[in-house]
Assembly symmetry: C3
Homo-oligomer: 336 residues x 3
C-alpha cells in the first residue's frame, strides 16, 4: 500500500543554506539529482546525478568554475547539463547532455520541479512566508525517514498522536479529546484541519518559552498543500484573554525520496522571545527531540507494515478525516 | 526447500519467567504477538501485536492497569483484545478489536495456540514435567537462529553430529559409531530415536559434574513431539553397573518465528548434584557454549542453502532416519 | 545489464601463497569452492565446498591428513572428492562424492577450471611470466569489489580515467588527451589497446621510484586475455632518449565471484630498483591506494546502476573502443 508519487509538482529539495559550492546529492521521487550553486551569480543548479557516459554519480565529481567534471573519466557539463568536454577527442556527441531541473528559491527553501519542465511554473509553489520573515525566529532541520511518505502525511494531519507519542512533550489530554473540523478542497489540493482548545493544559515547553502560568487557549490550524508543504499555525494565549499573543508557525516539507524513503524537513518559527538565544537553543533541541519521536515511530511502523501480508486492513475513525482527505488528493495528483 | 509451518498447534512462546508486566514481543509462525501478564490475577495474555487503527506495534505501548494503550494514537484494548477507548470520540467502532490468542502455562513454559481458537485444547500440549519437578535442577536459555526451523529439527534428531560439531564437548567417537533405532508414530506425530552405548568414553563435562571416572554406559533416548517439543532422556552410569544413577533431561522447544527464523529454547535438567550451585553454573555456561556451536553452524548452513540453485540435492544415510520421519510428519501437519 | 559468466574457462582463484594446509573458501562464477594443499606432495586441491549430506560448507571443517572431515557429521572426502567415511555405518553410498575442480599453478597464481572438466587444458591458460621472473620484483594484493565484473573490465581497458579518478597519482593530462589504438582479435579473445605518449609529464611516483627528472616518453600497452587475465605493459624513459629503461608489468586477474561480485587480483612488477626494499614498500602502499580508488568508485557505480530503471542508456565515445570489444568477446564466450 505504498503511496504513489505525484509528478509534475514542486518539491522542497533542500534548505537554501544547504546548497553551495560543494555538491549536495538528493534523490527526489526516485530521481538522483545533484545540487550546487554557481560561483558567478550564486544561482542554484539541479542536474541529473548520472554521467551520460557510464552513469557515474556526478556528485562524486568536482567543480571547475561553474562546470561539473565527472570524477571517473572527465566528461564535463555546464549548468544547463550540456556536455562541453569529453576525453580523448574533440568532437562532443550531440546527445551528450544530462537533464537539468527547474529550481526556485522561496521562503528559504530550494524547490525543484519533478516532471515535464515545460509545465514548471513557480507561481504554483505554496508559500511559507514566516520562514523568511524578520518578525519570526526559526529553528529547523531535516531527518530522512525509512517510510512511505504517506505515513508522514498521516502523522502530521492527525495531531491526536501528540497526546500519546509526544506525551509530556507537546501533547496534553485535550489534544486527543478535542474534536476537529476538517475541510478538504480537493480541487485546489488543500486540506485544513482545525482543533481549538479553549481551556487546556499548557505543555511545559510552552510555559518555559512564553512565561505563561496556568491554563491556555490553544489553537491548532493545519493547512496541507499537497503533496509537499504542511503548515501548522499554532496560537496560544492565557485562558480567558483575547488576541493570541504567541504565534508559532510549524512548517514541514514532505519530500518523497524513493519508495519507502522520505525527507522530513521541519521548521519551527516563533514571534515571541525572538531576541532570546537561550529560548532559540532550547526550542531547537526540544523540537528535534519531538521530531525524532516521530522518526523512530515511523521507522517502526514501516517495518511492521513491511512484514504484513498483502491484504492488511486499517480502521479509520473521526480523527483520520484529514489524513484520508490527503490520501484521496495524493491519489488524484499521482493519477494525473 | 523451506519447511512449511503447521498451524492449529501449540507452540512454546516464552519461558513463564519472561512474561510479566512489561511487554514481550515475539513473532510466531509469522504472526506478531505481544505477551504480558495481568496485574490482578497474574494471567498471561497474548494479543495480536498490531493496533487495528494504523498497524502500530502494541508492544511499543504502555500498560494502563490491565489494558494496553497504543503508543501512537491511544487506542486502548482490554485483555480480550476488545477496544475500550479511541481518541476524539465516544463511539468505539464495533470492529475495533485485535485477535487474542489462547495461552497455557505448563512445565514452566508459556504455550500459545496458532490457528483456529475454537480448536485450542490444552490437553494436546505435550509435557516436559521435569522442567518443574523439584527433584531436578534446570539451566536454560533461548537463542534465535536465522535458519529454517527444519534445520534445527534435523540437527536435534541426529546426534551423530555431537562427535564432530561438539567434539571435545558432548561428543565422543561412540556417538557417531553406535547404530540407532528409530520409531516413528506418524499418527501421533511422535518420533523416537534411541542410541545405547554400553562401553563408551565419558565426556569430560559428565566426569566433572558426576564424579565418574572411567568408562560409562550412556543411553540417549529422544522423543520428538512434532512440531515443537523435543526431549532427550539421557542416562549414564559407570560401565558394568546397573540402574542409571545420573539422569539428564534435555528439553528443546523449536518454535518457528518467520520464514528462515526459529526460536531455539533449550533447557538441561539433572537429578544429581542438585544442591551444588557450582555444578549448576558450570552446566549453564557449558551447555550455552554447546548450543552456540549449533547456532553458529545452523546460521552458516542456512546461508549456504540460500546461495544454492533451486534444485540442490541432499544425500541421506542411516543416521537420518529420525530426521526424515520428522520431516514427513511436519509435512502432514502443515498440509492439514 | 549484468555481464554473463563465461564457463569452460580458466580463472585465477588465488595466489599460490594463499593456498596451504588451512582451508581457503572462494566462490567462483557462483560456485563455492574450498582450496587446500596436500601434505604429501604439496599439490593444490579444489573441491566443491558443500558436503553431499546436508550441504554444510566443507571449508568449515578440518583436515585429517589429506582428507577433509565435514565439521557437522563427519562425512570424509579424499582429494578426488570421493567420500571415504560416513558416520554410523560401514556402507558408503555410491553417489557420495563432491565435485573436484581441475587446478593449475602458473606464474604464482592458482588457476581453476570452471566448466566441463573434460575440456580443461592448461595450455589454454594465458601467461604472466614476469610474475615469477627473478628479474622483476612484484607487489600484489586482492580486493573483492561489490560490482559486476564487467565494470572492472571496462575500468581497466580505458585508462583515460587515470587522469580523473587517479589524478595526482598515476594520471596526468596526457593520458586523457592522447588517442589510443585498439586491436581486438575476437577469434582469440584478445583485446589490445595502446597509448604512446612521447612527451608527457612524469607522475611523481615514477619520478620517485626511477629518479627521472623532467618529462618522459610513456608507453602503455594493454593486453586483455578474456575473460580473466589483463596485462598492462608500461615502459617509460626520459624524453628524447631511446630504449625504455624502466619496465613495469601491471597484472590484473578479474575473477567473477557471484552476480555483482568480483575478485580483483592486482600485481605490479618492476625491473628497476629491484634491490631497494624502500621502493618496494613505497610501491606496495602507493598501488594499494590507487586500487582502492577504483574499488570505491566501482562500488559507488554499481550502487548507482542498481537504482536505475531497467532501460538506462550509456553513451560511448572513442576511448571506449577497447571496453566495447571486450564486452563483445565476453558475450561470445558466455554464449558458447
Amino acid at each position: 500500500m505504498a503511496t504513489a508519487f505525484a509528478r509534475n509538482q514542486w518539491y522542497v529539495a533542500a534548505y537554501a543554506s544547504e546548497v553551495g559550492r560543494t555538491f549536495l546529492a538528493r534523490t527526489i521521487l526516485g530521481e538522483p539529482i545533484v545540487f550546487y550553486r554557481t560561483g558567478q551569480d550564486g544561482r542554484a543548479v539541479a542536474l541529473a546525478d548520472r554521467c551520460v557516459h557510464r552513469r557515474y554519480p556526478l556528485s562524486e565529481s568536482r567543480l571547475d568554475g561553474d562546470t561539473i567534471v565527472c570524477g571517473y573519466h572527465g566528461f564535463t557539463y555546464d549548468t544547463s547539463g550540456t556536455c562541453v568536454f569529453v576525453p580523448g577527442q574533440q568532437r562532443i556527441p550531440r546527445t551528450a547532455r544530462v537533464a537539468s531541473y527547474p529550481v526556485a528559491e522561496l521562503d528559504s527553501f530550494v524547490w525543484v520541479w519533478i516532471g515535464d519542465p515545460e509545465l514548471a511554473d513557480d507561481k504554483l509553489i505554496p508559500r511559507a512566508p514566516h520562514m523568511a520573515d524578520p518578525e519570526f525566529v526559526t529553528v529547523s532541520g531535516m531527518e530522512p525517514i525509512d517510510c512511505d511518505y504517506g505515513l508522514l502525511v498521516d502523522n502530521l494531519l492527525d495531531l491526536s498522536h501528540e497526546t500519546y507519542l509526544h506525551g509530556g512533550y507537546i501533547g496534553t489530554p485535550e489534544v486527543a479529546d478535542t474534536p476537529i473540523t476538517t475541510d478538504a478542497d480537493e480541487q485546489a489540493g488543500i486540506v485544513r484541519v482545525a482543533r481549538h482548545m479553549v481551556d487546556a493544559a499548557c505543555p511545559p515547553f510552552y510555559a518555559k518559552s512564553t512565561g505563561i502560568q496556568g491554563r491556555i487557549t490553544r489553537l491548532q490550524d493545519i493547512e496541507y498543500f499537497a503533496p509537499c508543504l504542511y503548515l501548522l499555525h499554532s496560537r496560544i494565549t492565557p485562558a480567558g484573554e483575547q488576541n493570541p499573543l504567541f504565534r508559532t508557525e510549524i512548517t514541514y516539507a514532505i519530500t518523497p525520496s524513493a519508495p519507502g524513503q522520505v525527507y522530513d524537513f521541519w521548521a519551527v518559527s516563533r514571534n515571541f522571545a525572538t531576541d532570546d538565544p537561550a529560548v532559540t537553543e532550547f526550542l531547537r533541541d526540544f523540537n528535534h527531540q519531538v521530531v525524532m519521536q516521530d522518526v523512530v515511530a515511523l521507522n517502526i511502523l514501516q517495518k511492521a507494515l513491511d512484514s504484513e501480508s498483502a491484504g492488511y486492513q486499517e480502521l479509520s475513525i473521526g480523527i483520520d478525516a484529514g489524513g484520508l482527505a490527503a490520501r484521496r488528493i495524493l491519489a488524484q495528483l499521482a493519477a494525473q
